[in-house]
């Protein structure tokens, strides 16, 4: 890959340069509101805040991909976000919910994030930038990163058009695609061959993440699933915040997926009695099937659940099992077809019966 090394403070000039040189028409990037970190859509370059203090902030509120989902525009929008969010954008491009040409994806290294409310509450201790040692130390004090982040294997920036990596007290900026390299050149950065693979660090993260995944409580029977979902009030927040849930009309808003009135009376007659609001299991099982190949395991569903159901133990965990059988990693490559729109003539027979 081609890239260069910058000081943390140089990032501001770089992002401003993208707008100034008309590489992009707008930029979605994190910004600070008091102790909190949320996203803003910038069109005027002087509104860009010093990025070093926000773009690496270990805070997760919404998945940035959810913000631009379905924007079929001709303009070009840059997005500075964490790997899981950029992976979701790539899935949305494949799902034809975004134009590939209308986004410039800038992925930043992530070290794991706290729920945005936890981050704001403990801002004094957490700060703008953390590393794995610091995360361990905070965990000792009872301030833990999100479960989805603890089991995340893809924390290092290695996808998108441009990556911003944290190396040795500086940042490595590199272009992964033609569009990315062009953008870097357009803001006047001198590029050289740069290796930001960081294989060893990646292996360490994967090993740690798998260990944490093993430790998660398992939902391994229908009874366990019922118990797990018993507090669900069917608000469908998990669907609304999911970056890869994109149907214009959800199956669950249609009579077939969510029977009501006479249909429900008929069902109750058949079964003797049914729980109302009805169909928690059908909703979650169908939804997990719908997102099983594209779920990027960002954990936005868990954060959004008003009943604090730890949905990370359900959606990403199940989705990963399905992704394994197709050897598919969502967001890995924009050219790789989605598993359900392709096939091999001979495959999977052992999984059918």
């Amino acid at each position: 890959m081609k890239g260069t090394e910058l000081k943390y403070d140089d990032l501001e000039g770089f992002l401003k340069g993208l707008i100034e040189n008309k590489v992009i028409d707008a930029l979605i990037m994190p910004h600070r509101v008091g102790n909190k970190v949320s996203y803003m859509l910038v069109r005027e370059k002087n509104k860009i805040e010093p990025p070093a203090s926000v773009i690496f902030a270990p805070s997760f509120g919404v998945n940035a991909a959810n913000v631009i989902k379905g924007w079929m525009i001709d303009n070009k929008v840059g997005i500075v976000a964490k790997p899981c969010e950029i992976r979701a954008v790539i899935e949305l491009i494949k799902l034809k919910q975004l134009n590939e040409e209308s986004v410039l994806l800038i992925t930043v290294d992530c070290s794991g994030a706290f729920k945005n409310e936890d981050y704001a509450e403990h801002y004094a201790e957490i700060g703008n930038l953390v590393d794995s040692a610091k995360i361990k130390e905070l965990e000792g004090k009872g301030i833990s990163i999100r479960e989805a982040c603890a089991i995340c294997e893809n924390r290092l920036a290695d996808i998108g058009d441009i990556i911003i990596a944290r190396v040795n007290g500086k940042v490595g900026v590199a272009g992964l695609t033609e569009m990315g390299v062009e953008a870097l050149s357009a803001v006047g950065l001198l590029l050289e061959a740069k290796d930001l693979e960081r294989k060893e660090e990646k292996e360490r993260i994967v090993a740690e993440a798998r260990k944490r995944l093993e430790e998660l409580p398992k939902i391994d029977s229908v009874e366990a699933l019922e118990e797990f979902l018993q507090d669900c009030i069917l608000c469908k927040n998990c669907r609304d915040v999911c970056p890869v849930c994109y149907c214009k009309e959800c199956f669950f808003d249609q009579p077939l997926g969510n029977p009501a009135g006479g249909d429900l009376l008929n069902l109750a007659e058949l079964r003797g009695a049914i729980e109302v609001p009805a169909n928690q299991l059908l909703y979650h099982l169908t939804r997990v099937y719908h997102v099983c190949t594209t779920c990027v395991a960002c954990g936005a569903c868990e954060d959004a659940c008003p009943k604090s159901i730890p949905l990370t133990r359900f959606y990403p965990v199940l989705a990963q099992k399905v992704q394994e059988i197709f050897e598919y990693v969502p967001g890995r490559d924009v050219k790789e077809p989605l598993p359900f729109i392709t096939y091999k003539e001979e495959e999977l027979e052992e999984r059918l019966r």
Binding site: L267, L281, L282, Y289, Y343, E345, E346, E347
Partner: protein, 142 residues
């Protein structure tokens, strides 16, 4: 219930394609092959029409088993409907496996000329589901 006295008779819902498996079932019938009457067939135009929600709905509403049938791979009336179906079914069964429900879902490729095979599958499946016992969803309030 008489079922409980006379042994458990499973209810199996079958989704079969119009061109192969449904015709195969027809052949089994017209050639007077005997098979257990546990299956309730629903005819679709193609196995590619099987929405995994159908399977989930059947299971959650108390079906003891779900049978999915289509043309042999490579012989789909619509060229590749069953290739897509195969991927969907494999994904769905992977999810169901977590909850021990996958062995209630079985899919087979059975052509219009395979009346024998259809009858044999029905016998096997009825036997398998009997061994498994009733779907735990059956008597639940959910």
């Amino acid at each position: 219930m008489e079922e409980e006295k006379g042994g458990f008779e499973p209810k199996i819902i079958g989704f079969t394609c119009n061109w192969c498996t449904y015709a195969g079932a027809d052949l089994a019938g017209t050639s007077r092959k005997k098979y257990p009457p546990n299956i309730r067939l629903i005819r679709l135009m193609c196995s590619g029409r099987i929405d995994p929600m159908f399977v989930l709905k059947a299971l959650l509403n108390g079906a003891d088993g779900v049978f999915l049938g289509g043309c042999h791979p490579g012989e789909c009336h619509y060229i590749k409907g069953n290739f897509y179906a195969r991927r969907r079914i494999a994904a769905l069964r992977t999810i169901l496996k977590q909850f021990g429900l996958d062995n209630r879902v079985r899919s087979e490729w059975c052509s219009a000329s395979e009346g024998d095979k259809f009858a044999r599958i029905m016998k096997e499946m009825a036997e398998e589901i009997k061994q498994l016992g009733p779907n735990p969803m059956r008597d639940k309030i959910l």
